[in-house]
Symmetry: C2
Subunit: 205 residues, 2 copies
């Protein structure tokens, strides 16, 4: 697996390149360059070229990148050339916003099942989906082969939810709970804590 040798920080930048390429393609732009991408993204052209070089040869010196081709290659590398169903656990304000979120469309993900442990919420509809009891989480994840989860539950419940998810086959967790999840090797976790991102900026103010 060559992917194992590529720094995760490089992998982490590919989604930003992919987003911009998809935007360019939607605008009808056929060819771009590391310089143009760099300018749009506020990074250096050398970094873009170096990051992409880990995965192959995507452009020729002087002729630039074919936007559609590079976009498709990045989709393949990030494995979003198909759609991943997501189990979303914790349907409070944030969970509802995620269930409604329009940004998943055409980007490789679809919220496929909603779970909460509040009896008052179970059975409610959010968009096209019905909130299910958290008791059914493991069965549904297994039945549908879901491998990606988003946890928007309170911190006190998040570790137990993660363990249930993982035992049922979840391998990637986007964690909104304000707790560092303990997970076995081979399971990926990304944390989305808006305060951590804010604090990273206020340091410089």
């Amino acid at each position: 697996m060559p992917a194992k040798q590529i720094p995760d920080i490089v992998v982490g930048r590919l989604p930003i390149y992919l987003r911009e390429l998809s935007f360019l393609a939607a605008e009808g732009v056929a060819v771009t360059s590391s310089f143009e991408l760099a300018k749009r993204l506020g990074v250096s052209a050398a970094q873009i070229r170096k990051d992409l070089s880990h995965f192959g040869e995507f452009g020729k010196q002087g002729t630039g990148y074919n936007v559609g081709y590079l976009r498709d290659q990045l989709r393949r590398i990030l494995k979003v050339d198909h759609e991943w169903p997501i189990a979303l656990i914790g349907i409070g304000d944030l969970g509802r916003a995620l269930a409604h979120y329009g940004g998943f469309v055409n980007r490789g993900f679809r919220v496929a099942a909603l779970f909460d442990n509040d009896p008052a919420k179970i059975g409610q509809r959010v968009g096209d989906l019905e909130i299910m009891s958290a008791d059914r989480l493991a069965d549904i994840v297994r039945e549908y082969g879901i491998r990606v989860a988003m946890i928007a539950a309170p911190a006190a419940q998040a570790q137990k939810i993660a363990e249930t998810c993982i035992a049922a086959g979840i391998q990637a967790i986007l964690n909104y709970a304000l707790i560092t999840l303990s997970v076995p090797d081979g399971v990926r976790v990304q944390n989305l804590d808006p305060v951590a991102h804010l604090q990273r900026m206020t340091h410089y103010l």
Copy 2:
């Protein structure tokens, strides 16, 4: 400014250390070590020691860190030893969730003003705050000296909103819109795109 020489990636990890130290302090733990922190956070003890060493000497070999002291020092370094008011622009599902979000409390931030350009929303209350017209954004930001903004508006409006914010004195933007904002030097932007975080994980599945 010594802060300028410290890699931003190091600064980006400090909020995670701070969160864990705050958690330990709340649990009544008085002393910790780089090994214990590392174990809890799933990183290496050497990385924690090296990251902290950029900012000073916080513990003695063999005696560990004083939890409360290190927490307070990190608060000072990240400039969250006081509370920053935030202007939140775009009160859709996500904006509402952010307005209600409990994770800001005691972590250096407070949503202080809500803005939208939808006449149907202006005047509505969300918690203690009333949604104001986006036309008032610049005046309010100036009047209250707000320096931090969160943009949860649609992509098509985000660049213009950012420019209004920046002209009025905003220096740090947490951007939820699916667009790369173009900002002048000296203005910080952090992007929160859940799909980018998901794609970073699916690459490995």
